[in-house]
């Protein structure tokens, strides 16, 4: 369970009476397996299935992005590049970047996390299985639409960072940019879902007795990743919403003539975009920290220092987004600050690299295939990191920015820091995934092709950039001096592509024809190898863990665990169960009953998808239908989350009974809601940043006098806030008196107060100044829309709480939807209150 590389002594203790492993397996498979046939494809919520699907789909998109990169290299091989016309070329490179970032890298790491985390933390599934499936469907549908747009010839063509004004409605009139904004945002839903789910799982769904401070390092890495996703994606989501609203309804957020500023987009984009690099790097580094110690036969050096480095990276990475903007003309003190921050971020990275080298130094390295990919990582990522430090030095950045040098740098970082480690990870975990051992030789050949192809493509590209070749040009007829460099890159690019094709072939061959792998083939100590091979749907018949001096918590415990000697054996109640522990020490507190197979996630993603489809096709008047469908689906999600009667505690070990989650206030879902609101708070903070940035920095301010100071407006604001306060008090009251009939009346009062607040908000909307006139008024519409979204959510939760009260789903230990209602209600009140303060301040000052 700890990251000790050496398996410890055989275990003799047990928590439950052993049973026959085969009958246990049948009992669990009955409950946990996907349904057979097509229905099983549509209704699976199992983390193993969903994680595998994420990774396979990500690899398919990787292949598509790879084909696009070959088109780019073919185009640039000669200076006249008569291969693609410029319009198509612009779509191709935009799609290459967007696909690799949003449809390959992020989903790949989500897939790995979803598939791996419950196994390595000693659990049976992720905290929210339906959310896993929902995220996957959003990803699949959104990604497919984005790729199909290329087939239809209307793919995004503004570069993967979609700078305005180039991406606005004047300069990109078609739906190309809308495909990007809506498609990527739709896919981002899966990233947010994964972020919430990964965080909750790592914090609360671990093996009993596994304290946070001793969990496998990859847990820390993925925790850092998911926290960064929670706060890193909201700025991009906000930016995409703003730009889409500007394109669709002409609200000026980025139009400088009307109080907007194109730099606001750059800030929001890179507030996401830089942390994104570390979001991608951390899981890869997690895989390295898992594999290197085992193949070196030595525990990882400096566990604590690595955890500190991860935390340092999480914080630092949010302080250096401006280094993508050194040439936009910002004050030179800011330049120095962000330059220093960008250089500083290399320190925690160096700590990790030297910790890995030190681990290998102290151990005896076995040069097996994953190690080969790790060598590929070192020899690539070190250089990428060094060119990154060079780019952080402002004067050099002024020359190298937006040239092929940067293209080379980012491929060194992303292929070195993500793709090589991921290939190591896939080869590492393939025996657990497929139950099979690899075919000899193919992986090595693939590695050398990729390695030689990669450096041949990108090493000289640094020089191409220094010789002045900018990014994203289609032809260079007047610059013969770049031609040999580009031709070389193109030739080696094809070699690299062949290598990736061979890698894919290797994996397929292993999955289909490899010989059966024996248990724990790498002799690792982590709990993922305490599973039968290939991992069954339920992972493990009884959960590993340690308590009261007894321990079954290493990969060696595989047989006792399969015999049901660990925690919570089998599925005696016919439901999917896993243990929930305290975040810090890992003390078991209750049993989470997880949802079984259902098509609800698919239906919900289709409802959400229909909203995006209507936005994309300009059918704005039909969107209320989609919103109603989303609300209906959301309501259905709550149905299984409560019970109308008290449920008995269940036996976890021979002497420990724990309650089921129906009898708990602090459920996994409630933790999830808190984390969702952390993301929500970041989005609102980004919105406030936008208002502040435009007010202070944008040229077209102060705005012309507004008309929001009249008495009707003040009354509407007061009514809305009063409604929110009353409903918050009512929600509090409902929880206090939940065992009495009065709970129903209080819930009804809260519901009514919320409806009143929503009506007041609608009235306020009618009073707003023309939002197309100035960014100030446009931002007010966004603040109002923000309040409306949370208002509707809080109102639905109030209705749900009323229904829980009416149907007996509240009790002494049963809380129904009330705690979640209180959280959303409070969040609504605070954000709406801040918005009111802001608007009043704008009017008064």
């Amino acid at each position: 369970m700890t990251d000790a590389a050496q398996p410890s002594a055989p275990v003799t203790v047990r928590f439950n009476t052993p049973r026959r492993a085969l009958s246990l397996h049948r009992e669990m498979a009955q409950v946990w397996d996907d349904e057979p046939g097509l229905r099983g494809i549509l209704s699976s919520v199992n983390h193993g299935t969903i994680g595998r699907r994420f990774m396979i789909t990500a690899f398919v998109f990787f292949a598509i992005g790879g084909v696009l990169s070959m088109l780019i290299r073919a185009q640039l091989a000669t200076r006249d590049g008569a291969f693609l016309d410029t319009a198509l070329y612009n779509q191709v490179f935009t799609m290459h970047g967007s696909i690799m970032m949003f449809l390959f890298a992020i989903p790949m790491l989500e897939g790995l996390a979803l598939w791996l985390l419950p196994k390595i933390l000693g659990a049976r599934d992720m905290a929210f299985p339906r959310l896993s499936a929902f995220g996957y469907w959003c990803y699949l549908i959104g990604g497919t639409v984005i790729v199909l747009s290329l087939v239809a010839g209307v793919a995004p063509d503004g570069g993967w960072f979609m700078y305005v004004p180039l991406a606005d409605a004047t300069h990109t009139p078609g739906i190309n940019a809308d495909v990007w904004l809506l498609g990527v945002t739709f896919v981002e839903i899966s990233a947010m879902a994964a972020a919430v789910e990964i965080t909750v799982t790592i914090l609360r769904v671990r093996a009993p007795g596994m304290p946070l401070s001793r969990m496998p390092l990859i847990g820390w890495y993925l925790l850092g990743t998911s926290v960064m996703m929670l706060v890193g994606f909201p700025p991009l989501i906000l930016g995409s919403i703003l730009l889409e609203v500007e394109r669709a309804f002409d609200l000026p957020f980025f139009d400088v003539a009307r109080g907007g500023d194109p730099l606001l987009w750059q800030h929001l984009f890179w507030l996401f975009g830089h942390p994104e690099v570390y979001i991608i790097f951390l899981p890869a580094a997690g895989a390295l920290s898992t594999i290197i110690p085992v193949l070196s036969g030595r525990p990882i050096l400096g566990y604590g220092a690595i955890v500190a480095a991860i935390i340092g990276l999480v914080f630092l990475s949010f302080g250096l987004w401006v280094h993508h903007m050194f040439t936009v003309g910002i004050p030179h003190m800011a330049l120095a600050f962000f330059s220093a921050a960008s250089v500083l971020v290399a320190v925690p990275t160096a700590v990790q690299i030297f910790a890995w080298i030190g681990t290998m130094w102290r151990g005896q390295v076995q040069f097996r295939l994953p190690m080969l990919y790790i060598m590929g990582f070192f020899s690539t990522f070190v250089m990428g990191g060094l060119t990154g430090v060079m780019l952080a030095i402002v004067p050099f950045n002024w020359q190298a920015h937006d040239t092929a040098f940067v293209t080379a740098h980012l491929h060194y970082v992303l292929i070195g820091g993500f793709v090589f480690p991921m290939m190591a990870a896939v080869t590492w975990w393939m025996p657990l995934l497929s139950g099979r051992w690899r075919v000899r030789g193919l992986g090595e050949a693939a590695f050398w092709l990729i390695f030689i192809g990669f450096h041949g493509t990108f090493f000289l590209m640094h020089l191409t950039g220094l010789l002045g070749m900018p990014r994203r040009i289609a032809v260079y007829p007047d610059n013969p001096e770049w031609e040999w460099l580009n031709l070389t890159s193109s030739i080696f690019g094809m070699v690299m592509s062949a290598g990736f094709a061979l890698y894919a072939f290797d994996i397929v061959m292993q999955a289909l024809f490899g010989r059966r792998s024996w248990r724990n083939p790498w002799k690792a100590a982590t709990l993922d190898w305490a599973l039968p091979l290939p991992a069954p749907s339920y992972n493990i018949a009884s959960l590993p863990g340690s308590m009261g001096g007894r321990a079954l918590d290493t990969a060696d415990a595989i047989l006792p665990l399969a015999r049901g000697e660990g925690f919570l054996p089998g599925a005696p109640r016919g439901q999917r169960e896993t243990l929930v522990v305290t975040a810090g020490s890992g003390t078991p507190v209750h049993v989470a009953v997880l949802p079984g197979n259902t098509t609800l996630p698919l239906v919900t993603s289709l409802a959400v998808g229909s909203f995006f489809a209507m936005m994309l096709s300009g059918l704005y008047l039909l969107t209320p239908i989609a919103i109603a469908a989303i609300l209906w689906a959301g309501w259905r999600w709550g149905d299984i989350m409560g019970r109308a009667d008290d449920s008995d505690p269940v036996a976890v070990t021979d002497d420990l009974m724990l309650p089921q989650h129906f009898m708990q206030r602090e459920t996994l879902s409630l933790t999830g809601v808190r984390l969702l609101l952390v993301a929500g708070a970041t989005l609102f903070a980004s919105l406030l940043f936008g208002v502040g940035f435009l007010t202070v920095v944008a040229p077209g301010w102060p705005a012309p006098p507004g008309s929001l100071s009249g008495t009707p407006v003040m009354i509407a604001m007061a009514v809305a806030l009063t409604g929110m306060v009353v409903a918050l008090l009512a929600a509090h009251r409902v929880e206090t008196v939940r065992v009495h009939a009065a709970a129903r009346s209080w819930a009804l009062l809260g519901l009514a107060a919320n409806l009143m607040a929503l009506i007041a908000l609608a009235g306020l909307a009618a009073c707003l100044d023309d939002p197309t006139a100035h960014a100030r008024d446009a931002l007010r519409v966004v603040m109002l829309g923000h309040a409306a979204v949370y208002g509707v959510t809080a109102t639905v939760l109030a209705a749900r709480s009323w229904r829980d009260a009416a149907t007996g789903r509240l009790g002494a230990l049963r809380f129904g939807a009330v705690p979640a209602w209180r959280l959303f209600q409070g969040f609504w009140l605070v954000t709406a209150g801040l918005s009111v303060v802001l608007v009043v301040a704008q009017e008064v000052l």
Binding site: T78, T86, N90, G158, Y163, P165, L166, H171, V256, P262, L263, G297, L301, G302, A305, T327, V328, G329, H332, L335, S339, V343, V347, A350, V351, A355, I357, G358, W361, R362, G363, Q364, V365, V382, L386, V389, A392, I393, V394, P395, F396, N397, W398, Q399, D402, T403, L467, G468, P470, R471, R472, A474, V475, D478, N479, E481, W482, E483, W484, L485
Partner: protein, 263 residues
Amino acid sequence: MLSRPRHLNRLVPALAIGVLTGCGGPLSTLAPAGPAAREIAFLWYVMLLGGTAITVLVMGLIAMALRRRPADDSDARAERVWIHGWGLGFSAVVLTALLATGIVIGERMLARDDGAPRVQAIAMQWGWQFAQPGPDGNPVTTDGILYVPAGQDFEIAIEARDVIHSFWVPQLGGKMDAIPGRVNLHRLRADAPGRYEGLCAEFCGIGHSDMRFEVVAYDPAAPLPPFLSADDPQDAAAAQPDPVQPQPDPASSQPDPAPETTR
């Protein structure tokens, strides 16, 4: 095979050009023709040297780690060496030195208000318009060619008319974005009279690849050259050495006067 594929005919001369030109070329940051570009090129070579040394060092450590027998040192000692020594100490020293150098060099390049001649550059889809002080002191507007005095600093006020572009003359110095609604000041200097190529470095749509321009640095002591636009028929004359007198710069590989200007 009887006939070679056409691209092979291109391959050989292309490779020959590559070997011959090395670091040169009209857009090369490594063929500096002004102090800013020269300092950055110097910075690059320093960083290249340092970066190579660090890469060799780290890869050497890894190679040794692979071949060594297991070590029996204590965890505390190993952490001191690898985490504190290499991870924190080594990286902090290298990075601090580099950062300080960067800040000092950057400071020297910033625009400041000291009466250097100011020209104006306006970027649009897809071309450049420049305004520079003419013989009588009044601004003269040209398309595609910017005229500046050689041997002294000049400041460029950079604006954009539609989308974001970026002003870049690699032989003279770093780039500066042209952003709608903003005026960005940039400071450059050409050591010697001559023609320097420039381009738009920020992707700006269909015409991005062709958004080139030229900077003509003239001898301020000599009579001013006629300020012609790139599409001006008389520009062919302007491309001749007279009245601009390019003086060969021994320190850098000066580009040949282009027979044809920006398109």
